[in-house]
Structures are given as structure tokens and as C-alpha cells.
């Protein structure tokens, strides 16, 4: 396992450097002068433009800029935000706990709802429960997250006044965004759980377990679900990766002070140092979560080859 972990980590290094290079290239690829783009056409003196260009290191050749960027990142320096004048890393650190809270809250909702709906649909295949579960899943897949979020705000915050429209630090204010994000992502989980369970339920060892006289609950949970876990862990891992990467839309709809909301503001203001920092952190998180999912396969099923 240690050798496998080492090899997988080693494989991640070139991917991460490629991501770093692409993130660096964002700024040189901006059509026109990036400084003027960031100034949004505001008329400023040539000295200010020259000073900003110098601060961003744009006077140097592309190769030197790249080396400075890589060195900075490796030393934990992601640059300074053009709009807030704060170090990018500090901005991200401030926002990450809120994103973590939302990611885990919504993962709990999507796992519970997705597992229950998927297992019920598989066990009662072709019944009303199956149809209802799959209708729910199809509706979830087709639902625009921003509209669903606004509907939740309209019913539960505006009409029923159960929650505040503006979120605070309390656990209660987590409920609405976490349920919204969790319900939307649970539809993909439910579909996958259903198909994975259907495949496993048709296998001989399930018939053997039933023939031995085991209780149905034990057959379903200990035998079927355990063997259906690999695809389920994959989708849950991907969901967590997506949620940890900052659920941009949900955070923007609920004004949730996470990395996604920070990203939307940075993208709108074209604050390139902040954008680059956020894209790098998000992509790194995504790669690491995928790595963790791969490692989890090994724990769940020792037959999974190390290659």
C-alpha cells in the first residue's frame, strides 16, 4: 500500500505542474494588455499603469515570469489581489472553512438521499417506488442549480421565514444551501446506486445468501451494498471534489462566503492574481480528492490492481 501511495503521488506531480503551467498562461493569454483589462478601461496615468505592470512582474520575459510564478507558488506566495490588495493565499484561507462546511453538509444530504432512493429503486424495480425515485433523479439532473436555490430562498426564507436570507456563521444558515446542493447532486448518486445495486442483486452470491436464510436487510446491506460500493464511492468522491472546489453557483445564490463566491467576484472583476490563485487551489483540491478516491478503492476491494 505504501509503495502504491508513493507511486500515485509521484504520478500526480507532473499533472500538478501541467496545471500550474496552464494557470500561469491564463494571464499572457488575455487578449490585449492584462493591466488595462484589470483597470476596466479606467483612465489612469501612464505611471500607474507602469507601476502596476512592474508589481505584477509583466516587465520581464515570459520565461522569467514563469520561473518567478513557480518559485512563488512553491513558497506559498500566490501573489496579491488587485482589488483587495490582500495576499491571495490569505483571501483563500479566509474563505476555505465555509466551503468545507458546505461541502460536507451537502455530501451528507446527497449520500443519504441518493443511497436511500437508489437502494429502494433497485429493490422495488419496476414498481411505483422505482418510477418515483428515477423521476426525482431525472428532475434533479435537469434542475438549474441557480433556480432551485432561488426557489428554496423564496419558499423557506421569504414565504415561511424559517431561515434568514443573508447567511451568518450559524449551523442553521448552512441548512438551506447544503440541502439545495445535496439534493441536486443526490440525483446522480441515486441513479448510480440503483444500477450498481441491480447488477449486484443479480449475482449468484446474493441468491446463495438468500438461500442460507439470511434476513433481507442483511443481504442488502452486508452483501449487496458492500459489493456495489466501488462505483458509489467513485461518484461520491467526484461529488466531494466538485463541492470542495467551491460550488460557485450555490455559493453565489446564497451569498455563502466560501471560495466559490470569492471566485465569482474575482472572475467578474477580472482580478487575475486572485483568479489564478483560486483556479490553482481548486484544481489541486480536485486532483487530491481523485487521488484519495483511488486509494479508497484499494481499501474497499483488495483485488484492484496497483497499476
Amino acid at each position: 500500500m505504501a509503495a502504491y501511495l508513493f507511486r500515485r503521488l509521484l504520478m500526480t506531480v507532473p499533472v500538478w505542474f501541467a496545471i500550474l503551467t496552464l494557470v500561469f498562461l491564463m494571464r499572457p493569454l488575455v487578449p490585449g494588455d492584462p493591466v488595462k483589462v484589470m483597470l476596466f478601461g479606467r483612465v489612469t496615468s501612464p505611471e500607474v499603469v507602469a507601476n502596476m505592470r512592474h508589481q505584477l512582474g509583466l516587465d520581464d520575459s515570459l520565461w522569467v515570469q514563469y520561473l518567478h510564478y513557480v518559485r512563488g507558488v512553491l513558497h506559498g506566495d500566490l501573489g496579491t489581489s488587485v482589488t483587495t490588495r490582500q495576499p491571495v493565499l490569505d483571501e483563500i484561507k479566509d474563505r476555505y472553512p465555509a466551503t468545507l462546511k458546505l461541502a460536507f453538509g451537502s455530501l451528507v444530504v446527497s449520500t443519504l438521499v441518493g443511497l436511500i432512493a437508489g437502494i429502494l429503486a433497485a429493490v422495488y424495480k419496476n414498481s411505483l417506488i422505482d418510477t418515483a425515485s428515477m423521476l426525482f433523479a431525472m428532475a434533479g439532473l435537469s434542475m438549474p442549480a441557480f433556480w432551485f436555490g432561488l426557489l428554496m430562498i423564496y419558499f423557506f426564507a421569504v414565504k415561511l421565514s424559517w431561515f434568514s436570507v443573508i447567511p451568518d456563521e450559524s449551523l442553521k444558515s448552512l441548512i438551506l444551501p447544503a440541502v439545495t446542493l445535496g439534493l441536486i447532486t443526490s440525483s446522480a448518486v441515486a441513479r448510480l446506486v440503483r444500477s450498481a445495486m441491480l447488477e449486484v442483486l443479480g449475482q449468484d452470491f446474493i441468491r446463495t445468501a438468500r438461500a442460507k436464510g439470511l434476513r433481507e436487510r442483511s443481504v442488502l446491506i452486508q452483501h449487496a451494498l458492500r459489493n456495489a460500493m466501488i462505483p458509489i464511492v467513485t461518484i461520491l468522491g467526484l461529488q466531494l471534489g466538485y463541492q470542495l472546489s467551491g460550488a460557485f453557483i450555490i455559493e453565489a445564490v446564497f451569498a455563502w462566503h466560501g471560495i466559490g463566491e470569492l471566485g465569482v467576484k474575482a472572475f467578474a472583476k477580472r482580478d487575475f492574481p486572485l483568479i489564478q490563485g483560486i483556479v490553482l487551489v481548486v484544481a489541486t483540491t480536485y486532483v487530491l480528492v481523485n487521488l484519495a478516491v483511488d486509494l479508497l478503492y484499494r481499501l474497499l476491494d483488495p483485488r484492484v490492481k496497483l497499476s
Binding site: M26, S142, A283
Partner: protein
Amino acid sequence: MNVTAAVNAVRRPRDQTGTIPFLRRLFAQRQAQIGGVIVAILVLMAIFAPVIAPYDPTEIKAGKPLTSPSRAHLFGTDDLGRDMFSRIVYGARITLRIGAIIVAIEVSLGVVIGLLAGYYGRWVDTLLMRFTDIVLAFPGLMLALAIVATLGPSLTNAIIAVGLASWPLFARVVRGSVLSVKEMEYVTAGRVLGARGPHILRKTILPNVLAPIIVLASLEFPAAVLVAAALSFLGLGAQPPTPEWGALLVNGRSYIRSAPYLINIPGAAIFLVVLAFNLLGNTLRDILDPRLRIR
């Protein structure tokens, strides 16, 4: 069995592969029927928008601002008195165009890269697939956001961004299909007869990997519509006064208490269109992918 019956027996399977039998099989499914009706309405709305829409979609003060749905204004009016029904009807055109262009970009890039990687193998495959993996290492929406931020916010740039962020799925699927098709005897026969790589790719391999491309394109269309609407919602896609549905929704957000129809009507329109294409795509997948059909 007489000769005619024997010929018919041989012919039957071939007849079932034609376009009309295929469409008959597709629309025999309830899911495809519902999806098909909604898509047909959308297409008709888009084609006949100038006839159906009672007002110009950008006409300010077509009615009193923030009027609830009534006979004069079926879907009410927005904060500037623009007729929401006309804006939704014209928005159908934009939605269809967005979905079609994004999928065209994804297919063009993904299919070319997948064909080249799968057919030529070796360093071409390694180079193209590692690049694909790197693009896949970014969450799709965030990559699209980053590209729009780089190019500047506009509907055209949003379309380019979503297309550029979503092609890797096509590249992966096409490469996988090419790897199995290129081992077929008819491909070897073409090579023996002197056909060159590009000719074999275009004339022999591409037609045989079309099924997964069609299935994926039908499933990517609704995803593309959703992401483009999301970009407009975040202010990075369609800009005012374009009646794109995501942009209509963001405008209505400020009036969630006094005029909730301003968010509900465009939201429901996006939901219905995405649902319709998902239903069609799912049925297509069930028909064209025999492995899934058995299950």
C-alpha cells in the same frame, strides 16, 4: 419456406436499421415522446418567434413595469415593462443556438483528438491523452469561468468557454471506440488495399464510432445549455438586453418578493428544455448502446 419468405427473412434485420424504423423505436418510448414534444414546441417557438411574440423582446414599456401575468401579458412584464412572454419566446432561439454551437465545438475538438489518439497510438496517443487528462483535472464550470474571465464576459465568449472546457469527454469516448474498431478486419482490408490513414479515419472508422458520439452529443446538449445559463446568471455570459433565459433569471432575482414570476418562468423554461433533452438522450443511449439495453 419459399424463396420470397427466405429473402424477407434475410432482409428484415437490415430494414430495422433504417432511419424511420429507428425513429419509430425511439418514439415508442414514453420518455422520448415527452422529450420530443417539448423539443418540438421549443423548435417551433424558435422558428416562428416573430409571429408568436406579441412584442419586440427588447421593447421598453411594452406594458406597465412589473405587471403580473395577465391576458395582455401572458408571462407578465419585467422591471422595464418588457413583455416576458416575448422575451421567453425569443430566448428559445438563443438557447437552441447556444446548445448547438457548444456541442459542435465539443464534437469537433473531441472527435478529432479522439480519432488521432486512438488510430495513431504511441506518442500521439500519449501526448493527446495526457493533455486531455490535464483539462479534465479542472472542474468543468470553473474552467469555463476561467476562460470567460480571460476572454471577457459576453455570450460568444461564454459559448467558446463552455465548448473548450467540455470536449475531453468526447475525446475519451471516441478514442476508446477507435481502439476497438481499428482492430476490425475491414480496417485491415482498407489498409491492405492501400488506403492512407486520413482516408481510413474519415471513411471507415468515423462512421463506425458515430453511435457513441450521437449519444454523448444528445446528453451534452442539455448540460451545455445549463452551464451557459449559469454563466449568464453569474453575469459572465449573455449581457442585457439579450433575452437569454439565464440572464432573465438574474434580472428577476432583485424582485423575488414582489414579482416571483420573473424567476419562476425563465427557471421553469430552462428546466423543461434540459429535462426534454435529457429524456431524449437517455432513450437514445438505451437504443444505441446494446449493453445498457440488455440491463
